[in-house]
Every structure is written in C-alpha cells, then in structure tokens.
Symmetry: C2
Subunit: 662 residues, 2 copies
C-alpha cells in the first residue's frame, strides 16, 4: 500500500489495455465499463480492499462484488494483475471462448476469487447485502478478531434502475449495514443511449432517503477517489460513492458514448487508445514495472491474513468458526432421534406447520441457520422459537424481517450462502417465486445452499384466489437445473426434505408446502425422500395401476387406490417428493418404482400443471393419465376448489376405470 | 358532487360495515385496508373521480386502480354503493365463495368496473403507469375533447417496498405523467408488524427524487383529504398523496395493529365496531339515505359522459377512435401482400431481425401499436422505422425507452392494453422473462393483448454465457395458462406469429426469437403457424421417424431428416412454433401431424429443457427421444456451444439410429 501517486495511472491503464484487447480478440464483450471504472478500481485495490491473492478463501477478506457483471474484464484484470492463481493470461486471451474460465460474465464456480456470479443486473448488489448481513452476524457471534471486513460493490446505472436495487438498499438501510460500500459507475450512458432517455432520478437523494450516506468523486481523479473512498470507509452507514466517470475512458473517439458499452472497439480505435494512453506494450503483455506494482498490493493483505490466522489459532471458538465456514453441519443426533420418534405419531398438520416443527428441532442444534420471511412470518411458519430478530441493534439475531421484498430476500439468501458461515432460508408464498425467480436460478447456477420456503403451494391456498394460487410454479421450478424442488406429503416427508436441504451443500432447495392440513401417511421407513420417489403403498390386488403423486395429492392418491382396490384393481401409490432426486437414481431403482410394463396404467396426480408429468405416464397403458390443473384457479375455500377442479377420488376413479376398459 | 360535509362520515362507514361484514361472513379476507382507506376513498369518489356507473366502459373515465388488491372489499363496496351493475349485494354476501364475482382479490375478468387484477403487490401501480401512458398517447392523438382523464391508484406499504414500484415511479417521473395520482395508505403496518421492523425509508423523499410531487394529509380528516387531493389534481407532475391512516379504523380494539390486516375481526369486534361507528344497520344492509348519497355521485359523471358522447359524435376521428378502443385491427391488405411475397424470397436472417422486418410492415399500418424495449432496442430489434420516441415532450411517439426495467415494462404493457386504444409490445432478452414473469402471468390472467418480444432465446445467444442463456424459460412460459408462446423457425413463421399475436385480443403472446441467423425454411403455405404445429417436410422413404422441433432447431431437424433419408429412413419434420395452438386443434388434425403409430420414433429437438416434450414423444417407439439441454449453458460463440451440447446432425443421427435398432 505504498504505491506512489504517479504509478496509479499506468496501473489503471493496464486494466484498460487488457479489457480492450480481450474484447477485441473475442470480438464480443463490454469494454466501456472496465475502462471507465479502471481508475476507481485501482484506488480501491491499492488503498482500501483487504485481500490476499494467495488465500482467496480467507474468511475475513473484504468481499468485492462486480454487480455490473458485463464489465467482467475489470475483475479478470484485477485478479490476474494482483496475482491470483486464476485467471491466467491464457485464460484472458481466451475471454468468452469455450473452456476459458473468463466467461462473458463472472462466474463464481469457474474462478475461486470471484465472490458471486453477476450479470443479471441488480442482483450483485442484492447479494452483497446478504454478504454484509452474514459478516455482521458472524461478527456478533465470533467478535472483531475473527470477523471484521467490508463488502464493496460496483454498480452501474442498470443495477440502479432494476427494481431489486430498491429492495436491497431498503433492507441495507434499515439494517444499518455500515460495512457495505457501493461504488456507482455514474457514466450517464445505457445501452440505448444517454440515461436521460429513460431516467431523471436523483439517485443520491434516493439513497439518502433509504438511510444511506452518499459521497461523490471525479472517477478519474485519483486523489479525489481516494478521499471519497476514505470517507465511505469511515462512515458507519451503508454508503454510496457516486463516481462520475466517462464510459470507455481511454478510447479517444468512442469514450462517453453508448457505442463503447457492449462491442469491441475495433482495431483502429484500439490503436488510437494505445496512442492516447501511451500504452506501448503488445496485447496481453504487461510491462514488468507495472505488473510489479500490482503484485505488490497483496503484501499488506498477506500480513493481515497471517495476523488473523494467529488470532484464529488462539480463539477458543476456532473449531466452531472453522466448521461453520467449511459449511459442515454439526452433529445432531438429537434431531435424528426426534424425527424418528415422529414416525410413531399420527400428526395431521399442514406441511408449512410441519416445517415450523422441523425448524424448532433443527434451529437450536444448527446455530448457523438464519431464517426469515418476506413479511409472511405467520403464514410461512418460518420462525423457530429459538430465533431472535436480526436487527441493526442486534446482529446476533437469527431471524430476518425482510419486508415485502421477495427478490431482494432471495438474492440476500444467496449472498449469505456465498459469504459462508451461515445457512440461510427465507419464506414467501410459492406464487411469489415468480417475483424472485431469477435469484432462485442464480442460487442454482452458483451452487449455493439457499433454502426457499415457499408455502401455500396450490389451489389449496383457497380464498385469496387465482393471483395467489400456484398452478405452473412447481413444475416451472423443476425446470431449473441444479435445484431440488421438494413437495412433501406429510410431516415425515417434511422432516426428511428439510434434512436433505440442509445436507445439500451445492444445490439450493425449494420446499413447497401446504396451507391446509394433511394427515400423516408415513409410519415407517427411513429417509425415503432421499430417493426422490418411492412406493408408499403396494397394490394388494393384481397391480393394474400406479398412482404417482406429490405433496397434498398423495393423500388423494391413497383414497383413489383404496377405491380401486375395493373393486379388486391393484394400485401402487408412489410418493414423489422430489423429481430431481428420483431422476438421479440408478435405472434399477427407477424401474423398481416405475416398472416398464405397458399393461399397467400410470396416473399422475398433482394440483398443478400436467405438462411434464408425461415423462412418467405417457409410455404406460393407453398413454397414461394426468390429473392436474392447467387453467387459473378461483377464489373459494380450498375444499370447494379441489372439488371444482376434479381433485377427488370420486372424480378420478371413473377416469381410471375408463382408461382400464379402453 | 354536492354531498354535505357531514354526510361523508356515514358514507365512509358504509364501506367499513360492508368490508368487516363480508370478511366476517367469509371468515377470511382483509378488513384493515378498506376500513383504513374508507375516508380517503369516499372523498375521492365524491369529489374527484370521473366515472359513470351506468357506462363502465366509457373511454374517458378516470381509471381507479386498487394496487393493494387484498383490500378488495374497498372496491367492491365502492362499485356497489355507487350503483354499478356488478357486484350485487348478493355477490358481496358471498365474498370469497365459489362462484361469487367478489373474489379474494379484484379480478378484471369477473367485474367489468374493475380496471385491472391486483393482489401481486406493486403491479397495480405499475399497470397504472401504463394506463397513464396510454391516456397521454391517445390524448396526443385525438385531443382533449376525447381523451382527458386521470389515473388514480391506491397503494400500501407493500406496494412501495416491492422493487417494481421503483421501476414504475422512475418511468412515470421521467415521462412526467402528470395525470397519475397515487394515494398511499400510510398506516405504518405490514403483516409482520410495524413497518419499522423492515423499513426506515423516507418515502416522500424518494418520490421527489424520482420527479414526483408529494402532498400529505390526515387520512381521516375529510377536509384535509379534499385539500390534498385538490393539490394533487392540480399538479402537473405525477403526484403521491401520503394519507396518514389507521389500519382497520373503526374497529376500536384492533385498529392500528397488524391483527386487523388479514383476518376477520371476529363477532365481538364487529359488534364493538358497530357501536364505535354508530352503525345500527344489519349486515349487508345500507340505510336508504346513505345509499342515496352514494348513488347520487354518478350523476355528474353521467352528465360528463353524455357531453363527451356529443363531442365524439362531432369528431371527425370518431370512427378511428372507436375502432382503436374496440381493439379491432385496421384493414391491412398491404401487409398481407407483403408477407405473402416473402414466401418467394430466400431470406437468411435472425428471427429478431425478421421481427423487425415485420414491424416495419405492420407498424405503419397499425397505428395503435406502441413498441419499446427495456434498454435493448438494438438487440431486441423492436423499433420500427416509423416510430418516434414517446417522451414527456411528445406523447404522440410510439416507441418507449423503458430503461432497465423489465418488470415495470411488462406491467406497463398490461396497463396500456387494459386502458385500451393501443396495442403494446416490449422487448428484453428471453432470460429476463424471469424478472417480469409475474407480469406475463397477470397478462394471461387478465386476458390482455400484451406482446412480449423476447430475443436471444437459447444458448445461441453465445458469449454472454449461462446467466444470459435461456434453458428452462421457453418451457416454463408454456406452463402459464392462456399465454401463447411463439418460437418461429424462420422469417415466414415470424410474420405469421406476429399476425397471430396481433389477432389475439384476449391472449397475450411471447415471441421467442433468435440472436443468430436462420435460413428460410418455408416457401409455401398460408398461416400454417395458426395450427401451432404442422408437417414442414414429409418423409420420402418409408416413414420411421417424426422429428418435432421449434425455432432455430427446425433447421437442425431438416438436416437430421436429410441424413436419415440418405440412409433410406423416412423422416417427417414437424415445425411447432406454438405448442398452445397445437393443443387447441381438434384430435383429427393432431393425429394427422402426429399419428398414433408406436412403430414410428418421435424425436423432439429444442435447445432448452426436455421436460414437457415427453407429451409428444414418450408414447412413441421405445419411449421416444428428447434432444435438449437440461443443464446451464456456457460462454462461447454460438456454434461452439451448439456443437458442445449436441445440437448437430452428427450427434443426433446416431442416437436415432440406436433407438431404431433397439
């Protein structure tokens, strides 16, 4: 951190050169942002950011989030120049090519030094809020000696127009997350042209209205940047640093225009920029003195990291801290015993309430679980008795009142999970997965252990009507890769699914839970939900039918089976709490549950879209049968709706008999 | 409008009585908001709102939007009390029961006087922005004599926490929509408790930062409310009226607490409220004098409406105005001729560019088409040459720069369509349908002609990588009821799909379009896309295979077919630009395209999720075959990705041969 002031400009120009050259080589990408923010980033990394390139997983490092992820060459340049193992210069040469870790947008699963995957605008900021929450919680738990770092975020105008940023900054302001520092690339340009085309907002005033500090600087004046970042660092409020920049700074004929946002500069302009910047090195070559300056920056961090390791070694809570940061679950035999004892019960309960019962078992034993709800605590049943509120006054609390901010909450869950040391879950109505869908997707893409508790999972929601009744949501969530969608049928499966969700380190989970009561169907078996689907009831008479159901419709399938058996028609009932886990089983198991026998009629029953269920039914007798709902619901008590839409044994049995006699 | 001041309180209490009694009868619902906003609503309807209960479709009426839709009893009460035909008192008695038009949340398709379906928070406000945009556009087109009305919106704290409100008010502020007036039910309560649990935002400051006027009032002081609404009405800016209210006002023991938000008051508290309010009438009975006051309010509107009808009759543009408001398309023989001539061409073009070509044909002939993009104009190809920008300075423009506000845009499209007189379309990347998914759903539920132009529809997007590459989006949109998802395969199908979208008055459309070029596959046939799917190529050799594909994969299916035929294996190619329309065909047609012949192997090919395609393939030979992608994509040039993920004839043909030899 002893870089001479006159060295900053060439260091920043190294970012500019790498960025424009990589985009030029790929003939694709976004040079404008990295070139515009190069000066700010250089000051941040040389004077403020706490990092050690040799220890990218150091728990007490500052987090750096590039919310404006299209400017990925900024972070690739910074990681490479400061000496992280990845990306290499070869990776950068292959920017945006198959196999390069330098993807179009930064991906946390490709480069360890990247804290989170960004690109979908606004979400980096919202994840950073989650990181800052995790930091404060762990600080409150383990003290300043182990946890005391900042979260720095770079946002563009796009991030600040997206609705999610409103949710994120409102949450951060209310929680007074003073360690959160947001650098706004205020360049007056969007893809379509000048920002005035689409916005005339006073952004600093808005941040102040949300309880933030705001400081400003000339984003190309190193001294002014340093002053502003120092003020920001000193503030005890979340702080916006408005950095007035010129997009594409350094490209003499294109800078300041939207032409430089998202396309290669072209060979002529790259040459002109070299001239303008006085950059004489060949593409992908960094002059040794400049590289040496960059590489020197890690030293201070290395020293701080070693001191921290000393403190950790001396800390009586070191083992617990390490366990949580590693993401390993604690021993919880007690929980296992409790859940096993439930098999002996006969509990009729809504699965949302069963989930609360699970939380009351798990949360006391798994202290890293941090719950919350987007203002539906009493409906989502997400608060365990042992959880106190997480507030600006007490960050040791483990329950977050997220407010009516589904998207902000979901992204914050991802940020917390990415920070590590906590296992976050949050609730809303299943229908409002629509509001936070892309954050659920980013959880899956980023391989985070985010747990989404989504209640009121069908027309069983009842009177609130079609705007609130999921139809397509369960199936549409199943379409997201690397996401486990659990829809348990009773209290036992709910406990199994909660355990599976906690055990899934690299796969997020959705728990789709009912508003309405469900009887306990399971009296035996251990962790059957882990197979995704299993035979809950075996045919007594000669098997003619296999009923496949999930969640609240398993009870219905049991009734249908009973009525069929009364007519000497044998019927299996397969409960399928998790389609994804069933797909992951080997063929032998899948065929055991769903044998290849075209004489057997397979029937799916789920109070949601039928499209997709043909995977399990269409190849069976006479094309199989799908019981579901492919229209919007209606407003009425749940039992009236189930009757109205054909979810009764009386409606289903005749359809099956028809098929069998065809 | 000559209501004596002392009559307002009993009028407002009529709203309170109906609301608490209906919720009590249903034992479900939200009494807090209608009781809290009863006074404000009474002043609005008695002194400011332009409406005529006898003519709910009067085009120049003020629009009233209850964005806080859970307070549905407020609008049901207002419509009934002022004398709209619907809802009847019987409907209100049956609030939230099967068959009653008084659903849990207000539904525009059940009660004609309801301007839009609300409940999903924040979207009513965002739709109101669209209504106010349509109003200004039609005003600029047809003049003050025909179009000169306001849009009034009631929002709660939930609406103002949701991210979409930020997008909506930013858009409204930049467009200076001075006819938009938002009444904020500032009651300091959310479901989880006091608003301070989750927010500490200075909401008036935020609105001012977005270019709005803000006025405030005591929401229970009639004179103060009137003053504030008068100031709001006089402002030439969009205006927020902060109405300080007590939630559940009138329920003496519960008012002001979150207990009154979303549950029946209980018989005791209802009785106490009657006492407190001096309301002696039986449930669902309105004293004659109070009802007479309410019914008198429509008179002024009726007069204004008749005067307006006179102006319409005298207006030379009356026929055109009526056509647009009826939603009928103009004669466009010229367009039909142009599109027919395209069959003779041989145009290789990305379907997003083909879409632009269509717009350049259609937009000049269909003047009610208003386009736009969420800051991706040059990528979505959504701007027709004839379209000038729609701006605060010129509302006659027909192209909207929505900014980076996908959800706000989608909701605004719905609001414009609901207002009538315009046909709105807007573009973003298909992946960001995730950001606006619930607005697309609300378009479907509300049966609006909103057209979503969603480009870069697969891994064919290329270098931007997995955050930007749709995988599950096409199939997940197909799951939404009453939504046509079009994925055309070439320039001809694109033109057909655009025409189908325009012709669908009550079904919104998604156009999923490629970034990459596609050859022209169709040289004949008229509007074949209307059948949803059709045989594009018939097997030459003995038919063994039917390939079913959509969009960019139809070209690939043709290549596969050619390679199969070279081995004397006959293969049909079925192009399926719209699964929903194919499902709507009669059985004879569906079997003609996809015959029930288990000896034929059916193969689906789509660069997206396979789940769902089993509907058409699983019952075929050996379970059929699904070519797709069920994992996240990667960052690389498109052609490398298609090869990497198996979308080549060389990869697919052997799989088919395997199946055929099984």
């Amino acid at each position: 951190m002893t870089i001479a002031p006159d060295r900053l400009a060439p260091m920043a120009n190294a970012i500019r050169a790498l960025s424009m050259d990589a985009v030029q080589a790929a003939n694709s990408g976004h040079p404008g942002m990295p070139m515009g923010m190069a000066d700010v980033a250089t000051v941040l990394f040389s004077k403020f950011l706490k990092f050690d390139p040799a220890a990218h997983q150091w728990p007490d490092r500052d987090r750096f989030v590039l919310s404006a992820g299209h400017g990925s060459m900024l972070i690739y340049s910074l990681l490479h120049l400061t000496g992280y193992e990845s990306p290499t210069m070869e990776d950068i040469r292959n920017f945006r090519q198959l196999g390069s870790v330098c993807a179009g947008h930064p991906e946390n699963f490709l480069i360890p030094g990247i804290e989170c995957t960004t690109g979908p605008l606004g979400q980096g900021l919202a994840m950073a809020v989650g990181m800052a929450m995790a930091e404060r919680h762990l600080n409150a738990t383990f003290g300043d000696g182990l946890v005391d770092h900042r979260t720095w975020v770079v946002v563009g105008d796009g991030c600040l127009m997206e609705g999610i940023n409103h949710e994120a900054i409102g949450l951060a302001g209310n929680l007074k997350l003073g360690r959160l520092k947001v650098l706004w690339d205020d360049n007056h340009i969007t893809i379509d042209g000048d920002t005035s085309l689409s916005t005339s907002e006073d952004i600093p005033a808005r941040f102040r209205a949300a309880g933030w500090d705001v400081v400003s600087c000339d984003g190309h004046d190193f001294a002014d940047i340093e002053r502003a970042l120092a003020e920001a660092a000193a503030s005890d409020k979340p702080t916006l640093v408005a950095c007035r920049t010129v997009i594409g700074k350094g490209a003499p004929n294109k800078q300041g225009s939207h032409d430089v946002h998202g396309a290669a500069l072209g060979a002529d302009e790259v040459a002109a920029a070299r001239e303008y910047l006085g950059w004489t090195a060949a593409p992908f070559e960094i002059p040794a003195d400049i590289l040496a300056d960059w590489r020197s920056l890690g030293a201070a961090g290395a020293e701080a990291r070693k001191a921290w390791e000393g403190r950790l070694a001396a800390n009586p809570d070191a083992a617990e801290f390490n366990r949580r940061m590693a993401g390993d679950l604690p021993e919880a035999e007690e929980a296992a015993k409790t859940f096993a004892s439930w098999l002996e019960g006969d509990t009729t309960v809504a699965t949302r309430k069963a989930s609360e019962n699970c939380l009351n078992v798990l949360a006391p034993l798994v202290p890293e679980m941090i719950g919350g709800s987007a203002d539906l605590t009493g409906s989502n049943n997400t608060k365990a008795k042992c959880q106190a509120p997480f507030t600006a006054e007490d960050y040791s609390g483990r329950y977050v009142y997220y407010g009516i901010r589904e998207f902000g909450m979901a992204a914050a869950l991802n940020g917390m999970a990415l920070h590590g040391g906590v296992i976050p879950y949050g609730g809303t109505f299943l229908i409002f997965s629509d509001y936070c869908r892309n954050a659920i997707r980013l959880a899956a893409l980023q391989q985070t252990r985010s747990i989404f508790v989504l209640t009121h999972d069908s027309i069983g929601l009842g009177e609130d009507g079609p705007t609130h009744q999921p139809i397509e949501q369960v199936m549409s969530l199943r379409l997201i890769p690397n996401l486990n969608v659990f829809r348990p049928c009773d209290v036992i499966e709910t406990a199994e699914c909660w355990n599976l969700a906690l055990q899934s380190k690299e796969t997020p989970s959705v728990l789709a839970l009912t508003r309405q009561n469900l009887p306990q169907l399971r009296k035996q078996g251990e962790m059957l939900s882990a197979r995704g689907a299993y035979t809950l009831r075996r045919a007594a008479a000669d098997r003619k039918v296999i009923l496949i159901a999930s969640g609240s419709e398993v009870e219905l399938a049991m009734k249908v089976a009973n009525q069929l058996e009364a007519q000497a028609i044998g019927a299996d009932v397969v409960s399928m709490p998790c389609m994804e886990l069933f797909e992951a089983q080997d063929e032998a198991y899948r065929h055991e549950v769903l044998p290849h026998d075209p004489s057997i009629l397979r029937v799916s029953i789920e109070a949601g879209s039928t499209l997709g269920w043909e995977r399990y039914t269409a190849a069976s007798r006479d094309g199989g049968l799908n019981i579901g709902i492919d229209r919007f619901g209606a407003s009425a008590p749940a039992k009236d709706l189930f009757a109205r839409f054909g979810f009764t044994a009386e409606a289903i049995v005749p359809k099956i008999l028809d098929k069998l006699s065809a």
